[in-house]
Amino acid sequence: MIQKILIAISIPFFFLLQACVFTSLELGNVIPNLMVLLVCVYGFFYGEKTGAVCGFFAGLLMDIFFGEMLGLNALIIMLIGYVNGGFSGLFYAEDIRLPLILITLSDATFGLMYYVSTFLIRGKIGFTYYALNVICPEIFYTLLVSLVIYPILLGIDTLFRNYRIKKERESQQNV
């Protein structure tokens, strides 16, 4: 229960972190995409359903403040969370390569889908330019930030996992 509350609070927290702090720390005119990072990691940790729900609310928050309409970011990030949930069976705490690969692919997917749904649709064709100047730098910066944030999220998750295991053992002993 505490873990669920923590997950629910972390979404607006990461949104604030991105909108208020990381916008001042842009590198090469680009800021990292913390929302995709967070949803990707939650999907990977807790499975399809948590990933999809977290993605939906994270995207909705972005839509309310900065979107032209509600639902576009929500849809894209929800799908990312769901797909990443499919990999939750391959989760091992020691392995950092798979989550980093997943974050890279997720951010690339987000960039591509966002480009198609808001730029290509208006006839902005120069994909190479946007790929090189927006999507790739964003992925790189997101990866850089995830090297710091992923261990923190993993640490919190490990705490809860250990607590649950301890509790189960205790209840078994009582029986």
């Binding site: 607006p12 208020c20 680009v30 800021i31 999809a52 309310i64 403040f65 509600l70 808001t118």
Partner: protein, 289 residues
Amino acid sequence: MSPVVKSKGERFTIPGKYLLLILTGICILLMILTYGTSVFDVPVNSAVGTIIVPFESGISRAGEWLRNRKDELSSVQSLLKENEELKAQIAQLTEENIILNQERYELTDMQALLGLSEVYNSYEKVGARIIAKDTGNWYTSFVIDKGTDDGLAIDMNVIAGGGLIGRITKIGPNWARVTSIISDGCNVSGQVASSDLTLIVSGDLSLNDKGLLSFSQLSDPDGLVVKGDKVITSNISDKYLPGLLIGYIDTIETDANNLTKSGTISVATDFSYLSTVLVITDVKNNDYE
């Protein structure tokens, strides 16, 4: 048996696939409903206004502090050099200012004579602080800490550093989103101050990092417009008040049709270092009927 049906003694759960379908449906429905309409604006904007916005103003101060530290590290050398240049510039500007002041007295006299009032200074303005910026890298918009409670409304123009920044496109009780003129796909009807020729100014993501805007549909057969000409908002714009400074012509090219010209404009204000803005509370009056 359907997997959704609850059997005895089992907790009710929805399989992932169904959840995905439901959420996708909600998203698509939301997109259809909110595209071009504002059905949910009042409840949703008030809700996030009470929950999220109070935190934003606090946290954005932390962001500003970090940015200042980052800049301090990188800019001591360049600041010293800039300081020298600025001192020279001040001397030059003081001299120009004296001349301009003399001319202004003359202008005021003339205007009084003709019964014209000063347009630019007469707008009512309210100051506001930027508390959050766009979380994506595709568009340029930001959130300010004032909303309908402070008398702001949608379409009010926003200026900073003497130049036009954008206009309010979404509003809650204690926050408002400003879409800037450099945002991709944002169009402003402008005119060249010296010759009154109109043009369309559009934001373009590929020019943002150079501090430029693109312009098009300038009909200038006599070649009156040259590099460095001042571009202001035009009288015929429906959202922007007339006479606000947009920027200065940077490059001009004749289009393939040989009738119109297009090119780039350098923006008057540096958008990456904004922290406070002025909102003009006068809205352009379009009631012609």
